[in-house]
Symmetry: C2
DNA sequence: TTGTACGCGTTATCAG
DNA sequence: CTGATAACGCGTACAA
């Protein structure tokens, strides 16, 4: 391995000068600079990043903790993060949790080992004490998710209002018996969406039937199974609000398998607006989260933290948008499905 | 920041002893070990990974270069890599190319900077000279992809035979006019699949019409557009072999949009067996690649390289499997669609 | 069983 | 403009 010392010797200068040429900052006589550059090329010298990082105490690397990278919702957020990071010459590492919370904890340790300068977590499932302790000392931003009573910077949409809005969309279409398929209520995110759903029903004086609220995790299969449970209840449900597009897709499959048409016999709406939603049949009415912007905003927040500048706001709330496609039945020129 | 020296001082021992306790290798008197451990806990000392890596000259980190992480095909391979890496206590970094080849080059540089111990590339789009030069000196494995005349270890299936097999499956179902939607022929992978397709047709004395071979990239939309081109040709096509499931899905959408039933009016088969394929309607007949095993095998190969052990075989060919679902029409109790 | 001392490859400080 | 030299935090001969 060729080091800076080798280059210095070969070029007949000191290592300091080579370093200066490399960092292109301090003044160096053009002649010596050229000499150094040519020997660098000649020896095919590559600076040892490890040594640099150790010396400067910064890695210019940020780790993003992703619950499940195969979900395009997360990869879209990631894209926003990466684009923004590139501008500021930061490198992004991706840590896929594969649903194992201990992986997140692991990376929360990693930052204490100085191998990254900051963390963006799209999960926030770490134990509260570890999270707060680490966040006190190191740059950490939580995106998409957030936690009650935590003092950790985060970026999200207003999940309560968004859930309320899409539920009201169904209500406006005439539905009065709307089911809700959601994920684990231990996650604040899903509690918010649930609350938005309930609040919309209440606002319109619709009956609230908690049996119509079904809890899965977040896979297609979970949506499928919970929809089957709903069907087995034999209740007059004419619409379903799934707290995520992936589960909505599963619900649609279950309905079709049971011989129900979507949206004619039962409307379905989702949440997130992932890539597949517009390709699905029927295409999905859903809440679009500004995924790329969530990514950008969270990186910017993290950058402020890493630069030790003051944070103007702890919590950043971005705008959502209701995307109306086929699965809600909006475009049908007919009445709401009759209750069974 | 608390360093090993701080711990040593506080515990009243030398840094060497602290280091020994940490690495749990050399003999240390139980009493002193306990003392050291308790002060470590007390001071909340975390070893600086950067310094460790610099000292040992290894990072126990491997980078995986992925063309597009939002494609579940790649995330499934990644899963196999990660699982295997964990066993050997290696860390995985994911580098998403977002279709930009220069990102791959960037990471090929990264290894020369010692920030990772090895590279697994699922892309292999780097310039040949850079690739070979780097591979000569550093541990590199190419998976899924491969290159002609390169001396770089790689793991794949036999794409030629697999393509031939699935084309023959269509032929056995009675199809004689089979189109092929594929990706850029600059990629050896797709040339192989094309060759398998041609070879199957030739073997069964079927006419070869190169106008029925359409080139997109690899998105749903590419499949959609190329299928529309095929339709506009007004040729008696009754089956389509798409060189990837994503494009197959696009083709199915185009067929449906044109009012053709799949598989009744036109059969479609894909390649890869990605997650969505079994959920799509109709579910996709395809070639299943052993994604997890590809991941595992490529990590194992890389490990051998990193340990500087001799490689028994440069090229590892894994088994594929034809997965028969709905889209090929195998389960229909009817004749092959009549040609238009 | 433990401590001393050196070096990993850089960058930054301080003289010159 | 350039060169010595001291860190950065750790692991490891070597000595004790």
């Amino acid at each position: 391995m060729v080091t800076i010392t080798d280059v210095a010797k070969a070029a007949g200068v000191s290592t300091a000068t080579v370093s200066r040429v490399l960092r292109n900052k301090d003044a160096v006589k053009p002649a010596t600079r050229d000499a150094v550059l040519s020997t660098i090329k000649e020896l095919n010298y590559k600076p040892n990043a490890l040594a640099q990082q150790m010396r400067t105490q910064e890695t210019r690397t940020v780790i993003v903790i992703v619950p499940d990278i195969s979900n395009t919702f997360f990869s879209d957020i990631l894209f926003g993060i990466e684009e923004c990071a590139q501008k500021y010459e930061y490198q992004i590492l991706i840590a896929d949790m594969h649903g194992q919370p201990r992986i997140e904890s692991y990376y929360f340790q990693a930052i204490q080992q100085r191998t990254v300068d900051g963390i963006i977590s799209l999960s926030a499932n770490v134990a509260k004490n570890l999270m707060e302790q680490v966040a006190e000392e190191y740059p950490i931003v939580v995106a998409n998710q957030y936690l009650e009573n935590y003092h950790i910077p985060n970026v999200t949409i207003d999940n309560i209002r968004a859930a309320e809005a899409i539920t009201e969309h169904l209500i406006r279409l005439g539905h009065t018996h709307i089911a809700h398929i959601t994920s684990q209520p231990t996650t604040l995110l899903y509690r918010d969406r649930f609350n938005g759903y309930i609040s919309a029903l209440a606002k319109h004086n619709l009956p609230i039937d908690l049996e119509l609220v079904r809890y899965g995790y977040s896979s297609i299969n979970d949506g499928y199974e919970q929809m089957n449970v709903l069907l087995s209840l034999n209740k007059p449900v004419t619409a379903v609000f799934a707290a995520g597009d992936v589960m909505a897709v599963g619900a649609i499959k279950a309905l079709k398998a049971a011989g129900r048409r979507v949206p004619e016999d039962c409307a379905v709406v989702g949440f997130d607006d992932i890539e597949i939603s517009k390709f699905w049949e029927p295409s999905l009415t859903t809440v679009r989260q500004p995924k790329k912007q969530i990514g950008e905003a969270s990186f910017r927040k993290l950058l402020t933290l890493m630069q030790k500048k003051p944070l103007t706001q702890m919590q950043e709330i971005l705008d959502y948008e209701i995307v109306i496609r086929e699965s809600c039945g909006y475009h049908l020129n007919r009445q709401v499905p009759r209750r069974q």
